[in-house]
């Protein structure tokens, strides 16, 4: 099964998004949070080593899609992916909505790395108000 990693500047945000997305994935999705900075993850920021560990934990051999929030989350994720052997890609999507879409897609029997990325990126189109 394709794994997911949620990268945020806040450990709490990453864990919270993981919880929401896991609920949508019916409990079957493999989702790892990688949020916060510093040894305990209490600081606001992102950490390439923590992201790399989450990617390895989420990977069962089928690959991993990573959802990211802002700025250094992208850079630290790219760096983490250069250092891991797992097949992993970053989705260019809003972190929460993208994680929900991706979690649903990973539980489909036909899911591929591309289809999960595509589902996550579909979340860019979401409108919250019907103007």
């Amino acid at each position: 099964m394709i794994g997911l990693v949620v990268v945020s500047h806040s450990a709490k945000a990453a864990e919270g998004i993981r919880d929401i997305a896991a609920q949508m994935g019916g409990g079957d999705a493999r989702i790892e949070p990688a949020g916060g900075d510093g040894d305990d993850g209490e600081g606001i920021g992102t950490d390439a080593n923590r992201i790399g560990e989450a990617v390895d934990a989420a990977d069962d051999g089928d690959g991993v899609v990573v959802l990211v929030d802002l700025g250094s989350a992208v850079m630290n994720t790219e760096l983490a992916l250069e250092m891991t052997d797992a097949e992993a890609v970053v989705a260019d999507a809003p972190v929460l909505e993208g994680a929900l879409n991706a979690a649903v897609e990973t539980t489909s029997s036909k899911a591929t790395l591309d289809s999960v990325v595509e589902s996550a990126e579909d979340a860019r189109e979401y409108r919250k108000l019907n103007d």
Partner: protein, 236 residues
């Protein structure tokens, strides 16, 4: 240039000098970052370079490129924010260019690889009010001085530091279009970029360290011995 053990010693000295400089500029960097960023650059850089300084015991017996790679990975593990991947990741990647040791030629290759990685990782062109604005003129000046003007590396490095300083000043009137400061829009104008500033501090310390070692080890004869070895190869 100097043999491997002297290069190793010079790297340790450079790390210690950079760590001490960052320590003394910690609140300065944080002040710059609190104006247009998230006020963590001083602490982040301090934490990272202290960690690197504590690693210097392990450098004994390592090749020069391996030492530089270790400096990069230690920064990645200890510097938060974008500075971790930008400094640490780029040093790590560029360290490959120093296989076989530091020469005029490999130092230019290192500088170019480092700049390319920073620009690629940060996706920042010159003029976005980032470290690229200090780094680009420094690397271009260094390359030109060594390869085109045939200047000794120490002179080339001094020119590069001058260029970096002008680049740092150039960030002040710019509106940020990359990084956290870009969220501020026009309010970022009038502030000096913290990443460009820390880049300059590091280059200044590398220049100081290189000055100590290149002057210390080279009497006139040694210069005469090593210079013809390096230059004809490059000219070919």
């Amino acid at each position: 240039m100097a043999d491997e053990s002297v290069q190793r010693e010079a790297l340790v000295a450079a790390v210690e000098n950079v760590a001490a400089r960052i320590e003394s500029e910690k609140s300065h960097l944080t002040d710059l970052d609190s104006a247009i960023g998230d006020a963590d650059h001083g602490n982040n850089m301090h934490r990272g370079f202290q960690a690197v300084a504590e690693k210097t015991d392990e450098f004994e017996g390592m090749d020069v490129d391996e030492i530089v790679k270790t400096i990069g990975t230690t920064i990645i593990g200890n510097v938060g924010g974008a500075a971790g991947p930008l400094y640490g990741g780029s040093i790590m990647t560029a360290s490959q260019e120093l296989e076989g040791g530091i020469t005029a030629e490999t130092s230019v290759a290192f500088a170019e690889a480092y700049l390319e990685k920073v620009k690629d990782r940060g996706d920042a062109p010159v003029g976005a009010k980032t470290m690229v604005d200090a780094l680009t003129p420094a690397v271009h000046t260094y390359k030109k001085s060594v390869e085109h003007d045939d200047l000794p590396p120490l002179t080339a490095l001094a020119k590069a530091v001058d260029a970096a300083e002008r680049g740092v000043n150039f960030t002040v009137p710019l509106r940020a279009s990359k990084g956290r400061a870009s969220f501020l829009g026009w309010r970022s104008v009038g502030h000096q970029d913290p990443g460009a500033t820390s880049t300059l501090f590091i280059l200044e310390e590398i220049l100081d360290t290189a000055g100590e070692y290149l002057e210390g080890e080279t009497d006139v004869e040694a210069v005469a011995e090593s210079a013809p070895d390096e230059d004809p190869e490059e000219a070919q």
